[in-house]
Structure formats: C-alpha cells, structure tokens
Assembly symmetry: C2
C-alpha cells in the first residue's frame, strides 16, 4: 500500500455508452451542496418533491412512487421480492441480459419462472406471451424489459400489459433505460410495478432506482403470507420512511446528496417537458443514424423496435478483431466512451448511448468525427 | 402538483446527530466532479484505491474489503444473507435498535436467531454470550453491534470475538458508527464479517457501506448449498465486479460520484492517521462532556462503555415534555442538528454526535452555546 494517497481527479469524458450518461453541470453542482440530515424537515420536503417529479416522469398518479436508495438492480429486486412469494408463478420474458436477471431474481425469491424467450436483438413476442398466459392460468405476474439496454430493443409494453391484465396478471416492467427517453405511460398502460435508474435518460449519477407501484400491486404486497425476504427492500418498511402519515419512521439513511442530484435532474426534465425530451431523443437519434449510415455502419435492430437512446450498431467485419482497441482509442484519445456488446453480441456490436444530457447534437457530431478517425 | 419546480438549496446545518455527520468541503467538491463510466480504467483504479484505504481504516489485510453500493442497512444485509443459510443458528446480541435489526435479518435469511439480550444503555454481556455459546454448540455465527448508535454504548468486540472463535463461531460485527471513531482491529480481533457506513466517522455523504470479510467467512459463502437470496448483494457476483481477476465483470452500476466522495473522505483519514483520528474523537468528546457537565447534563452510559462519537445524554426532567421543541429551536434558530432518543429512550435522551468532520472543537463550542440558549 502506498504511503500517501492523492485526491481523485477524473478526466472528463463524453459518455455515450449504455450508462452512466453525461451529467449536467447543474446536477453535479446540486450534488456537491452541503449534506443535511435525512430527517431534516427541508430534506423531507425534498423527498416529497422528488416523488411528485417522478410521478410526472412516470406519468402516474401512484402514491407509491419514490427512488430506492441503491442502483437499478436493487430497483428490480425491490419489485420482485415484494411481489413474488414462494411458489408464485411468474412469466418472465428474456430477449437480452436484463430479462435473464429478472428470472434469476424471481427464482431467488422462491418463485417459479416460466420463460418466454426471444432472440437477442428482437422484441418480446406478444404472441408467445399470450400463449404463455393461456398455458399458465395460475401465473401471478408477467415480467419484461421495456428497453433492453443490452441490445437496444424496445418491446411493446402497452400490448404486453393489456394481455397481462386480461389474464389477471400483475406486470413488472424494467424501464431502466426507458424513463425520460421514450414514451412511457405507467397509468395509461396499466403497469403495476416499474423500476428505472438515475444514470440513463435522467442523467443523474448512478446510485438510485426510481420505482412506482399500482394499488393492485400494493394489495398483493399487503396480503403476503411470507415476510419479504429483504429487510432493506421491504416496501412495508421503506414506505414508513417515504410515505409515513404524520411523520416519517426511520428505516435507513437516505443518500442525501445523491437525492439532491436526482431532484435537479428531474427539475431539468420538467422544465423541458417530458414529451419534448422524448422528441429530442428521437431527433438526435436520427442525426446519429444518418451519420453512421455515411460511415457504412448498420444497426442490429429493425427500425420499428429500435431504441433512439441506445443504438446497437454492427461493427464492420474487418474491424471486429480490433474493436476493443478502437473503443480504447476513443476513450483515451477522444475522451469518448461508447459501450461494448454483451454476451453473444460481444465483439460484434457497439452500443452508443444517447441518453438524457448526452442526447445532444454536439455529442453526435463529436462521436461521428471520433469514430471516423478511430475506424481508419 | 406545482407548475414549476425550483432547484433545491439546502440550508447548511452543523450536523451533530447520529449521522450523517458534517461533510468536509473537500469531500463535497470531490463528489461534484464529472461522472465517468463505471468500467472506465480510471474508475477501476479508484476502486482499487478505495479498497486499499478501507483496509487501512479497518486494520485488515482481507482481500475482500469494499463498499457495498447502498447504505449501512444494506451492508448489514450483505453480511447476513451471504453468511447465513436456511436453518443456520446465529447468536444475536440485542442491546439497542441495531441488534434487533440484525435478528430480523437473520430470520429473513432463514436462520434461527438465539437472542442474548441486554438493557438499552448497557454493553453486550460477555458472560451471557459465553453461556449462549456453550448452550448452542451448533451455532454457526455470533452477531453483535460494536457501537450501538441508538444508545451510545461500546461493547467489548475483542472479548466477544475471542469467545466466538473458541466456540468455532464466525463473527458478524456492526461497525457503522465505529469506523474511524474508536479503535477497531479487524485482523487483530479476528472479525469475520464487518460492515460500516459512509456517513458516520468517515464523514462522507450517506449511501455506501464499507464491508470486509475474512478468508474463513468467504469459505462459508463459497460452500453454501443454497444460493444467496439477494441477487444484488450476492458476494459471489459482486466480487466479480470488485475483485475480478483479469478484468471486472459487470454486475451493477456503481454510484460513481458517491465513490469519489468516499475516496476523498478516506484520503483525509489517511492523511490524519487513524490513531490520531481516534484520539481526536476522544479529546473532543472530553470537551463536550465537561461542557455538558457545566450545564448540569448527565450521560446515559457509564464511562467504561461510553462512545466518544455518540453521546447519549439524559434530558433534565423539567425539559422532557418540551424536548422536541428544543431540538426544533436548535435546528431552525441555531442551525444545529442533534438526535432524538429512539424506542424506550424517546423523549428521555438526546444523542449528540461527534463523528468525523463533526468531531471538532468549534462544533462543541457551538453546540454548548446553542444548548445553553435553547434550554433556558
């Protein structure tokens, strides 16, 4: 171990990978303000505003809408450990990394996962889900990923939720990469449990996971026979802290400064207007798409299912063996981060994020110029 | 919901409650630096330095020493869900809020908790623990709180760990309020699993939970028959991210900016020297103790077990009914936060924290002056 440690000074990068995305200077400044107590009345007001702003972003009136004090993976686990009891059957759609993680969570909660599988790069098949719902009338929930960060695919959340409702199933929706980037209607589509992340299209630093639960989902939580296996994520306890009538009950200590950052990122979203944010993501995506076309780079995902905020593009054959060096050159020479492929797509695709504060024309211009040089 | 939301500007307070403690301007500035990718080589180096610095603070050579990406409660849960398998018997010592929480976690992990109970305000009885170990030769672990934040009591961790080792039990130690504030020797005392928090004597913002595991503890984790019930906290997976040989495996996205803050707080601790930090906490505590004595205020906890960093003091009888107003006046008029009593001690004690950056003479002077006015 060294005798002396130095303060850390990150070299600023343009973040166009799968997240974290660029964090606006306003959010960084908010995060750096003085820490106050997590039960201070001023902090309690901030918690209330964060809940209001998240309701705005999720397009919901759900009372229970708040950020879990941990990253998106913990948001997923919150939804699953609260809603799934031992022996519960859950239909889980897998078309990328995060569907697989959902299955793992269901099983660790003692649930039985019925898997509906689709190719990586394809959306969740509505027909297959319908067949699975018909074949499993005892299923209690349907879980799927709205925006698969590992592939850049959007699935039809509205249709999937309608089907689940028809079959009396709750819905658990992964919106980590969705929130703020593309249309999402929690109430309009009848989503029962949803989780997201702070570091994607909201452009706050990573570490928080916004969630929202419908009344029907909460009824299932309240009527559980078994205790929620996680103390830290147990909604019955967490809500005493976030939603306590007549005073908040201490549960854990909220990450105070991270909440400042999330709040500011949501204020920025509200100033822009969420529809305008969706439009911006789409517009900037078109710009990237056109520029990549000029470089001869094609997309993995077909147009109708393509996420504007997460562009999975095929690495030209002759560059595949050296693709890691190209990403390294982008990072070190151009201070630009883009993402590698995951799983079967490793070495075959790059993932270019246009999320939140990263979804700007200047970022696209920079990215295209840098790629042109690095791919030479 | 309002039409417009404003940026949040916290009113700066002097934090002398049970945590968070005052965060130094250096740590706040570190936190506010540009976010970089969580797999960026520069961030990976930062992770390595944080591990080195935590080994320094914990006084351990344990390889597996890192901060869990969530608050202290999640650190507790990490230790318990990894070490306790269904049916495992764990002796849990309860002498305040956090021992009770440990029991709850053991039971939710499917373990059987054998409770050793002591009065709130008293340390864990070494004799009772010895009797419990003798009576339960099949116990696999002993869990206790080193520094009870709810009461201000220090228990004899060294003696308790020695006893556990004699009886072939692993030890799970809550050091949330200990780390950096009073002597702690993870290797010297033979602690197997330990967790702390960023927002106490390290004086980083809340949100991270440093943990450390001995080789013996890891052996138990590796030989588990059942999967760890939490995906997010499963050491087998988390370690691929924090300790991966030949490259880090993506698990979750680390709270990048929070890590900047924790790193800076550990650099500050290392600059001062940990023994010097222990001495400072003791010295400033003496100053507070003397000043409170002059105000006629006595301590809940007897001298040998008293924590310097968490001062539980008895509210004079004639002030008990109005104690909440006094705390409110301190907060609003003097911008000073002190803590309320918890559980049976609510309304009877105040908890005055002298942790990390809050353990300064000027804080004590401010606190004593403000209390003098508010108690009039």
């Amino acid at each position: 171990m060294p005798d002396k440690f130095k303060s850390f000074n990150p070299v600023e990068k343009t973040l166009m990978g799968p997240g974290p995305s660029d964090v606006s200077p306003r959010v960084l400044a908010a995060q750096g303000q003085a820490t106050i107590g997590h039960l201070d009345p001023q902090f309690v007001s901030l918690m209330d505003e964060i809940k209001d702003l998240l309701r705005y972003a999720f397009r919901t009136k759900n009372d229970v809408t708040f950020p879990v004090s941990a990253p998106g993976s913990a948001g997923m686990e919150t939804c699953i450990v609260n809603l799934v009891e031992p022996g519960d059957k859950v239909i889980v759609c897998i078309n990328g990394v995060f569907g697989g993680r959902m299955k793992e969570n269901v099983e660790r909660a003692g649930g039985i996962a019925v898997v509906v599988e689709d190719e990586w790069g394809e959306p969740v098949s509505v027909d297959k889900v319908e067949a699975a719902l018909k074949a499993n009338p005892d299923a209690v929930a349907l879980g799927f990923v709205h925006s698969e960060t590992s592939t850049g695919v959007r699935s039809d959340a509205e249709a999937l939720c309608a089907l689940a409702r028809e079959h009396g199933c709750l819905t658990i929706v992964d919106a980590v990469t969705t929130l703020g980037g593309i249309p999402l209607e929690v109430d309009g589509w009848g989503i029962d449990a949803i989780y997201s992340g702070s570091q994607k299209c909201l452009s706050a630093p990573p570490g928080l996971s916004p969630v929202s639960f419908s009344a029907k989902a909460l009824e299932k939580v309240r009527n559980r026979k078994a205790k929620v296996q996680s103390w830290f994520l147990d909604l019955n306890l967490v809500l005493g802290y976030w939603d306590g009538d007549g005073g908040r009950a201490y549960h854990h200590t909220a990450p105070v400064n991270a909440m400042y950052g999330l709040h500011e990122s949501l204020v920025i979203l509200h100033e822009e207007g969420i529809e305008k944010s969706w439009e911006r993501h789409q517009r900037v995506h078109q710009q990237l798409h056109q520029g990549l076309g000029e470089l001869g780079i094609e997309y993995l995902v077909d147009t109708p299912y393509r996420l504007p905020q997460l562009n999975s593009v095929l690495i030209p054959d002759h560059l595949q063996s050296g693709e890691a060096d190209i990403r390294k050159e982008l990072l070190t020479e151009h201070r630009l981060e883009i993402g590698a492929g995951l799983g079967a797509l490793a070495g075959k695709v790059w993932r270019i994020g246009l999320m939140g504060h990263s979804a700007r024309e200047e970022n696209v211009t920079k990215c295209l110029e840098a790629m042109k040089v690095a791919m030479r």
